[in-house]
């Protein structure tokens, strides 16, 4: 049973927006929202993925008039919204395996098309299920331009299995498989991949990145994605208090800092070219982003700040240069 939505005014960046024209309010600000992932699930306190997935699916439900099917990779989202016979899903939902969500979604979309139905399909997974084990299936779905919106909820590691490194884990971050041992503890530099850029290389009709910090932006991107047919990719940064080690009430703040320091560029790309990148409103030094997170604590444990902080700053600066999102200095 779906919960009754009640709101409590919080900050202007979140679900509130009471001062806006009703037409410009977020889907989340509406008591009519689908609540695609309803309350009572088992996500950790402060889970960015739980927020991100509900934001995405509620926006997609509105965009499709509720005519939507979701396919899920194995991972936190799958686990905390079930197990049987309990389910938080208020839309048809299918989980098969860790690495095949994109291909399963292709099959769902094919079946709907052959049956003459207009139902839309979303596939979703975490960064492990997307950038690592599900990468082959995902690239296949991309190059065939199958009519699926694939959403990656990126918390930068295998959090469901106990915080191990994925190819989305940032350099220097401590995980259970990149422990802080030796002079350069944590994840190594010079590794990892950008799935949004790889998706663009497939010349998809629509690729976008977003975070849970900017709800209007996230919902607008989902809504736009649903106006397009073919393979689409949305990459949402979803901080994980468990894996990142930030306070559970700072998940939104972590997302915002990720944007403002430049580690997570927010942009939209059409047919393989960046159409619009969101300028940084208040530029922050990388330290402001790193310090609240225990996974980076070893960088600040000594008498002097670890020189790797400067390397991380350089990577963020490089993002800002590439996407042209530098705000006023």
């Amino acid at each position: 049973m779906s919960q009754t939505v009640r709101f409590y005014q919080t900050a202007t960046f979140t679900v509130g927006n009471r001062l806006l024209d009703p037409a410009r309010r977020t889907v989340q600000a509406s008591a009519e929202r689908a609540n695609a992932i309803t309350s009572g699930h088992r996500a950790c306190q402060g889970c960015g993925e739980a927020l991100g997935a509900r934001y995405v699916l509620d926006a997609a439900m509105r965009a499709t008039g509720g005519d939507l099917v979701a396919v899920n990779a194995t991972g936190c989202l799958e686990v905390f919204t079930t197990p049987s016979p309990q389910t938080a899903w208020q839309l048809p939902w299918l989980h098969s395996l860790f690495g095949n969500a994109a291909a399963v979604a292709t099959g769902v979309a094919a079946a709907l098309r052959v049956q003459g139905k207009r139902t839309r399909v979303i596939a979703q997974g975490g960064d492990g299920g997307t950038t690592d084990i599900g990468f082959g299936c995902l690239s296949g779905m991309f190059e065939r331009n199958d009519d699926v919106l694939y959403v990656c909820y990126d918390n930068e590691g295998y959090m469901n299995t106990g915080v191990q490194r994925s190819s989305a884990t940032p350099p220097a971050a401590r995980t259970a498989t990149t422990p802080v041992i030796g002079p350069e503890g944590g994840n190594v530099f010079g590794t990892g991949k950008s799935l949004p850029l790889i998706a663009m290389a497939h010349r998809l009709p629509y690729v976008a990145t977003a975070t849970v910090a900017d709800l209007h932006d996230l919902e607008a991107k989902v809504t736009r994605a649903m106006t397009v047919h073919g393979a689409r990719y949305l990459h949402v940064l979803v901080p994980c208090p468990l894996g990142w080690g930030h306070p559970t009430d700072e998940t939104i703040q972590m997302s915002r800092l990720a944007i403002e320091c430049g580690v997570f560029p927010v942009f939209e790309a059409v047919n393989g070219e960046v159409e619009r990148a969101t300028p940084i409103r208040r530029r922050q030094p990388i330290e402001a982003y790193l310090r609240p997170q225990k996974r980076f604590a070893h960088l600040f444990a000594g008498d002097a700040v670890d020189p790797r902080v400067a390397r991380l700053q350089a990577l963020a600066d490089d993002n800002i240069r590439r996407f042209g999102i530098g705000g006023p200095p």
Binding site: W93, T106, G107, V108, A111
Partner: protein, 413 residues
Amino acid sequence: MLKQLECSRAIAETIARCRPQVVCAYPITPQTHIVEALSELVRDGSLSPCEYINVESETSALSVALGASATGARAYTATASQGALHMAEVIYNVAGLGLPVVMTLGNRAVGAPINIWNDHSDAMALKDAGWIQLFARDAQESLDLHVLAFRLAEELSVPVMVCVDGFVLTHSVEPLDVPSQEAVDRFLPPYQPVQVLDPADPVSIGAMVGPEAFTEVRYLAHHKQLQVLTRLPELAAELAQLIGRPSGALLHPYRLDGAETIVVAMGSVTGTIEVAIDELRAAGLAIGAVALCAFRPFPLAALAEALADARRVVVIERNLAPGLGGALASNVRMALRGRAIPVHTVIAGLGGRPVTRAALRPVFESAARDALDDLVFLDLDNAAIDRELARSGERRRSGPAAENLLRDARRPR
């Protein structure tokens, strides 16, 4: 109507008459001709409506079929060997979700060493995944079993693997009768899923199940398979009425009257065995054969009955379970519980080595004299084995065994 056709082409035409709505294809020898022919049938409109999807791996091929089936579409794919193992995780998943996908397995050896030719290693590796496994004994049965497969799969919500010997059957060209569209339509009603992804009635499919119900879920998978033991003969009889020939069964008995020695096998080797048995019968030997069509479910009762008067059983294995013997013989023994008769395992025809009448006859004769070993490797080149064992004993880096054996085989002696 009989028509000179390659078996793979005829399988494709049969599949098309079963009207699958989603077909996914990834090439792997020796099943590739089937999906190639299906791509033609979809492009020229013979099979319509149908979504034909070229995927990037076997994992995706079966995952696409999984998604389509869960959305209420009839789904088909084909694979073999490495491809079947590549998709192994999805094979279990499709069965666990109770999705009636039909898949052809063009039986082929599993590497290393890489080998494209026929044996049953691939099917045996997946025997306990929860799929029904039907083995075709000849090209005509390869066609007909697919029609049965869709009906069984959809009636019981369980996937079916139709095992067709690679090359020996898939690439054989002979007069074949593709079941008529009318017969298939009468036999195969439209797919009515027991669960489906439908926004009007949302369900969550594939959620986690803990210890409190997992055993019961698995039991139900077993229960479904047991139903096949009754339904397969009934449906085969119904299909026989429509196509005018018997095709498909739990097992096919051959000259069991008074047989003291009974040979058990699966697949295309059955034909060779039957010819050998004819010759030995003519020479006065009391010998017969059983060709299993259903390997999963395993027809324990039917096989026990067929073997009731046997004094010994010879199992022709197209696979090797290293460290044990053969998968088929292990299963056959389950049908002989409580009976103290010898069950010989004959490992034969691995990686496409021909299983000849000439090689089988002395084995059967020796079994009839109770002089056959428990485990026999047919046509094994013992001298080559000895030479390689000696080489590897002489020095640590003796090189790749497969290459040594091949070089040895080509050296004039």
